[in-house]
């Protein structure tokens, strides 16, 4: 067992877990933040994407111990003061989600994607960048539309609020 301390959504947290505990299980089970999901166990589907020190990572293939001392942002930490983050708002406006299961990972991936490309995204780039996120409901059409809309709105100026 290891005692781990990290900052999650701006709040310092500590917890006991097995050495083999994955970050996603630490987030879901120890911290009760169940917005981050497990969809595949083999790091293909991206339902578990969170931000570690500002970059998107797959929390299903990261040990909780590896995240000790880092700053983690989960889907629960994205909306500030009750206002949806522009990416969240764009997903809603463009019907970029159906069952909602892949959505947290999609949104966290999109936030990082927009930040890395400075808000300069085109459809082909968005589709290529979504290689690590699988959605079974939307056919990606409205996810791509939502990310492009958010990217245009953020214009590279307002990057992830984290």
């Amino acid at each position: 067992m290891a005692k781990i301390t990290m900052t999650v959504n701006g709040r310092q947290v500590s917890g006991q877990c097995h050495d083999r505990t994955l970050l996603v299980h630490f987030i879901r089970e120890n911290l009760g933040l169940t917005g981050t999901h497990v969809g595949c166990d083999t790091s293909q589907c991206g339902a578990c994407v969170v931000h570690m020190d500002g970059m998107s990572i797959k929390s299903c293939s990261t040990l909780a111990a590896q995240a000790a001392g880092s700053e983690i942002t989960t889907i629960e930490g994205l909306a500030a003061n009750g206002e949806l983050h522009p990416v969240q708002a764009a997903f809603k406006a463009n019907h970029g989600l159906q069952c909602g299961f892949c959505t947290p990972g999609m949104v966290m991936t999109a936030v990082d994607m927009i930040r890395r490309h400075g808000g300069q995204l085109d459809e082909a780039t968005v589709r290529a960048e979504l290689e690590g996120n699988i959605c079974r409901c939307t056919g990606y059409h409205n996810i791509v539309k939502a990310i492009l809309a958010a990217s245009a709105e953020m214009g590279g100026a307002r990057v992830a609020a984290e």
């Binding site: 069952c99 299961f101 959605c135 409901c137």
Partner: protein, 782 residues
């Protein structure tokens, strides 16, 4: 149409919780004292179990107990069943073999559950599962349905000699044979429909809670139909009587059919909770999902389509072998029969049809309904055959279809279905225009200059949705009625709860069902809550599948709204001393038509509950329920056109454009309907281009058991789609709606394969059209 009423493009009410991580899926549930389950599963596709020794596992750290099938049987838990009786053409009933929730005598596919380990943590349960010693005696294996029917093959169930479950037929064999004999041209083709894994992104999960104080069970589960789950677990599996069993399907992360069925895990976790005295949660991992979620499709068919000298279809003969896997899943028998062969007339006026279907046991996962369920198989068969015929006859595929379209309604097909309305030419024309069909030759020539092979293909599909008139399906063997229920509760302050037996797992019912109420009473959708997915809240329901929530579920809501409206008008008329027939409801007010007299909606509601001044004899309160049993299926139809470029060097297919023109009747929320089409198209394109479940025929091992091996469509496999709708309202339900959930998956595979075969000039190509297959076919053609 108000801003939030029928037809409005309303953003979804449920989105905020999903977007902020506040969704509540089954695996998110946690209750005091909860422990974790791991299932010990068979690593063999076929074996006798000599013994199960769990002593070492029970002694491991954190382990509460290990339970097996003998204990389950001793406690009286029943076998899993198939709920739709099909009779063979000789009159004999289908041959259903025993499916034990935990196998203790024979395992019949890799993944068959043998024991459950309950422990303090998932990790400890996994460790202990490894320590359960099961002594297997391996048996020979068969995975292919056609082969399983041959003499001398391994036999799965003693009840089913030669692994044949039933040999069923529909239509008129003599008339069809006669048509073929007299035909000017007969197109013959073999059609393979590849086996798929549904893959909702949320893996199945269940939490079983036994409360010894009340002798009561609660089951959280990833279900598309919690009431059916309760009914079946109570009536057939002997878990608990219905009044002692509450089933809750909270947020469910997609289903696509695979979450209709009751699987062993729900039953075993409930039972294990009673045995161990602790709540027991099990969550599938993705490999378990590939191994044990019911698969879809897996048909092999031969087809003869007969034409007269004017290119009119005069007969269609189909012979299909369908693989149902190792056990008969809940609705497995209905899929390759009444959901499949009844649609073999397609959009065409075909005077004689005969279809024969044999269903077969193999050492593979059970096969049941997957998005479209039978209708994709019928459409793929028919539309590949039409395309092949057009090529053989030297006529354009559009013209061959046009010549054969059904043009007057109602239309009785030779295979049971009575089409109520449609305009197939309208969607064909819309799709051809949207795809610039006439400009294709120039685009093909331009592509050829770049060394690319460009092709175009179409598909005209029809499906039967809104399943289904209860008496009709009862006469065909269904074990349940397929109506839907609704209850509309108006609160004393005028806010409204709608309870529905439909279940939303991505379809957006919390928005669209609320739109019905907003449209009727002029109240904002924020004042309307949709309640579903809990058998303690909603009395009964048949759930969501077969694109039935709109046509059947919403129709039940409409019936309940009619009753609420009638009583509300009576109250308002009484309050305003007016005649009830003069009351109109607009913008949240009940008005006396032609006057300025009005009572706000909330005031009428308050009056219903204070009951100080109601019409004489009226009961207080405002709550009405309704059951709606549909009069017929609905018949969505449309035309899809796909344009591709194939790189002859690599065999890689790129979709240049995909056009969908659908007729869904009236539409409640176009944004949500388009989303349903997009998702269906992606699954259909996935089937045609990427996806396929593969078992090793020698030993029955599943070779495609993770996302590293099973090719799920990614964003860069797909284009943006061009979708449009036309509207011939359904005459058989109050809203005139048909259903849109499956169309995309039904219509798209043949359009794509027709396009690829057009591009490469070789009609022999099976799904999935991987680069290797396309490359080989393209080179074989040259």
């Amino acid at each position: 149409m108000g801003v939030e009423g029928i037809g409005a493009r309303v953003a979804r009410k449920e989105d905020k919780r999903f977007l902020t991580g506040k969704g509540r899926y089954t695996d998110d549930m946690s209750v005091p004292g909860m422990k974790y389950a791991i299932f010990v599963r068979s690593p063999y596709a076929h074996a006798k179990i000599r013994s199960i020794d769990a002593a070492a596992a029970r002694a491991m750290p954190g382990v509460i107990d290990v339970l097996d099938g003998k204990q389950l049987l001793a406690d009286g838990i029943g076998n899993l069943i198939c709920g739709w009786m099909i009779h063979s053409k000789d009159g004999s009933p289908m041959k259903m073999g025993a499916w034990r929730p935990l196998a203790h005598e024979t395992v019949r596919y890799v993944g068959d559950a043998v024991a459950i380990v309950v422990a303090d943590s998932i990790a400890e349960a996994k460790d202990a599962a490894e320590a359960v010693v099961v002594d297997y005696q391996e048996l020979p294996v068969v995975t292919d349905a056609t082969k399983a029917l041959e003499p001398g093959q391994p036999q799965l169930h003693p009840e089913a000699p030669n692994n044949l479950i039933f040999d069923w037929q529909i239509g008129d064999p003599a008339a069809t044979d006669k048509a073929i004999a007299s035909a000017a041209h007969v197109t013959e083709i073999t059609i393979q429909n590849n086996r798929l894994s549904p893959n909702p992104m949320e893996p199945r999960a269940t939490l079983g809670i036994y409360d010894g104080g009340d002798d009561h069970y609660t089951c959280y589960t990833t279900s598309q139909n919690p009431h059916v789950a309760r009914l079946v677990m109570s009536a057939f599996y002997n878990v608990a009587p219905e009044n002692k069993l509450r089933v809750i399907a909270p947020d469910v992360g997609g289903g696509f059919g695979s979450k209709i069925y009751i699987y062993p895990e729900e039953i075993v976790c409930l039972w294990a909770s009673k045995r161990t005295g602790v709540p027991v949660k099990w969550t599938s991992d993705r490999t378990e999902a590939f191994l044990t979620d019911a698969h879809g499709r897996d048909h092999l068919s031969t087809v003869k389509m007969a034409f007269d000298a004017d290119n009119r279809i005069i007969g269609l003969k189909v012979d299909t072998t369908a693989n149902l896997g190792a056990y008969m899943s809940l609705f497995s028998s209905a899929v390759p029969t009444y959901l499949y062969a009844t649609l073999l007339s397609g959009q065409y006026d075909i005077p004689a049809i005969h279809a024969n279907v044999r269903t077969v046991y193999t050492n593979t996962a059970p096969v049941d309904a997957y998005r479209g369920a039978g209708r994709p198989e019928a459409t793929y068969l028919l539309e590949r055959t039409m395309e092949t015929a057009a090529r053989e006859l030297g006529v354009s595929p559009a013209e061959l279809r046009r010549v054969n379209f059904i043009r007057s309604f109602p239309h009785q097909t030779p295979v049971i279905m009575n089409y109520d309305a449609g305009d197939y030419e309208a969607s064909l024309n819309a799709a051809m225009q949207a795809s610039d069909w006439n400009g294709f030759a120039a685009r093909k020539a331009e592509a050829a200059k770049r060394g690319m092979k460009r092709g175009i293909g179409m598909s005209c599909y029809i499906e039967a949705c809104g399943i289904a008139p209860s008496a009709a399906v009862g006469s065909l063997g269904a074990g349940v009625g397929l109506w839907e229920s609704a209850e509309v509760r108006v609160n004393a302050v005028g806010t409204i709860e709608v309870l529905t037996g439909s279940h939303s797992h991505g379809q957006g019912h919390e928005t669209t069902f609320a739109q019905l109420v907003a449209d009727r009473f002029g109240v904002p959708i924020d004042s309307v809550n949709i309640v579903h997915g809990d058998t303690d809240k909603v009395q009964m329901g048949m759930g969501t599948y077969g694109s039935r929530s709109g046509a059947v579920g919403m129709s039940a809501v409409v019936k309940a709204l009619d009753k609420v409206e009638a009583k509300a008008k009576k109250i308002a008329a009484h309050l305003m001393e007016a005649d009830e027939s003069d009351i109109v409801i607009e913008n949240g007010e009940l008005k006396v038509a032609g006057t300025d007299k009005a009572v706000p909606w909330f005031q009428m509601a308050l009056a219903a509950y204070t009951a100080h001044n109601l019409p004489p004899g009226m009961e207080p309160g405002l709550k009405e329920g309704a059951f709606y049993d549909p009069a017929n299926f609905t018949f969505p139809a449309g035309c899809y056109i796909c344009e591709v470029e194939v790189d002859p060097e690599t065999g890689v297919t790129k979709i240049i454009q995909f056009v969908a023109a659908d007729d869904f009747g009236n539409i409640i929320n176009p944004m949500i309907v388009e989303g349903q089409v997009h998702g269906g198209l992606a699954q259909g394109i996935g089937q045609a281009l990427l996806e396929g479940v593969h078992y090793d025929p020698a030993n029955g091992q599943l070779l495609t058991a993770s996302y590293m091996d099973y090719a799920m469509p990614r964003a860069d496999d797909l284009p943006s789609f061009k979708v449009s709708t036309s509207n011939t309202p359904c005459p058989n339900n109050p809203l005139g709606i048909k259903g849109c959930g499956e169309a995309g998956a039904i219509g798209s595979p043949p359009a794509l394969i027709n396009a690829i075969t057009d591009a490469i000039g070789n009609n022999r190509l099976t799904m999935p059209a991987t680069p290797q297959k396309v490359w080989a076919a393209a080179h074989a053609a040259n």
